[in-house]
């Protein structure tokens, strides 16, 4: 949910230390940031999210731009915290963390939890075919609709490298998802079952 035309006012108030402004920025960005951190395998996505906003408070004076630029800047900080999380854990995860699924179960937003879990597991199994950078680029462009330039700034690579990563990711998915001649249908995540959201 974007802040919209009020963003400059909210940003200036946040720079002055207004708690309401930071609360509004937090509610606008935290769900997407948490999803990004969880999908990239952060050790503790919730703690990483808190650290992200603390760093945003410290560095806000160095930021200049509109709401889209602020969003990309927030993801850049999240990326830094993510890398620190990997380093502290002494590893680079190859599989996204399951915190998102657990949070979904607790939030009771999906009554058909079994079906949702199966679908999520199927999607993750396919995404595991990609390298961490490929998965990161794909999720940033698909889930958050970042441009090539914004994605490059977030992950700290050039635009050309981002294009290469996304093309390779898409080609890998096409090869693995395409039906093989003479065989059954290709492995594909099950179509979402209609559920009633409360």
């Amino acid at each position: 949910m974007a802040i919209g035309p009020r963003f400059p006012q909210v940003l200036s108030s946040a720079a002055e230390g207004a708690d309401w402004a930071w609360a509004e920025l937090y509610r606008d960005l935290s769900p997407a940031l948490l999803r990004y951190l969880a999908s990239q395998g952060a050790v503790d996505p919730e703690d990483c999210l808190g650290e992200c906003f603390v760093h945003m408070v410290r560095r806000l004076s160095a930021f200049e731009g509109d709401e889209a630029a602020f969003r990309a800047w927030a993801f850049t900080i999240a990326r830094s915290r993510l890398v620190d999380s990997w380093r502290s854990a002494g590893r680079r995860p190859v599989r996204p963390s399951d915190t998102v699924a657990e949070t979904l179960d607790l939030s009771q937003h999906h009554p058909g939890a079994d079906g949702g879990l199966d679908q999520r597991e199927a999607v993750r199994e396919v995404l595991d075919l990609l390298t961490p950078d490929q998965r990161s680029v794909l999720l940033l462009r698909v889930l958050d609709q970042f441009s090539v330039a914004e994605t490059a700034a977030i992950i700290g690579k050039s635009e050309g490298a981002v294009k290469v990563l996304q093309n390779r990711a898409l080609n890998t998915l096409r090869r693995r998802l395409a039906p093989r001649p003479g065989s059954g249908p290709a492995p594909r995540p099950a179509a979402p079952k209609p559920t009633v959201l409360h």
């Binding site: 919730e46 603390v54 410290r58 939030s107 937003h109 999607v123 294009k163």
Partner: protein
Amino acid sequence: MGLDESEVSRLLRGDVPNDDPVWGEVSGFLDTVGTAYPAVPTTAFEGRHLAAIAHETRLVQSELRHPRQGAVKRLFTGSHRVLAGSVGAFLIALTAGVGVASALGINPLGQLLAPPPVASSVVPQATSPEADTSSAAGNNGDESGTVSPEAVPGSVPTPTTLPTPHPTATKTPGSVGDEHKNSRATEKANNAATPTPHNTKTPKPRITKTPAPPKATPAPPGKGKNG
């Protein structure tokens, strides 16, 4: 297989139909990615995070109100780091240099601290066989006060000075026979001793940190000869 950027953009936006012969499967898959990673509500820990944000804003605002304290702190930290780094680099370089010198057999500390060997202490002994030929017999001034040839008649004088690293071949004209006998024994002594003025064959020491001592005192005649 190269992908057109416009085609990729359509695919990532979900504008490619699922029945597309090439990218239909991928398009359908990308549609389901959002279900695997939905936007998660953060109400469960929003209060904790907002409290941390509020605390950090207080610190930042306080630092903005008192920039001098922060600036001085930052300046001191920066200069302190530079100073510590410079001192550390100097110590490392010094230690490395001493280690290399020691490995080469050079005593750097000895070179720096030890006084230059006094050549006069060896002069009477070292020049005894050569001085016979080059200088007139006469004074046997043992100026150095060290062991005089009289104390050790006919024996190979033992140099009492520090051995010098530069061997020099010293051969003086004159008593060739005796010189050969004592040449090696006195070679080291000659290294410390200044070649006699008449000793034109004495090469200049290659490595020397000692100034040329004064003229060597001639040894008494007949001293230093074996036998």
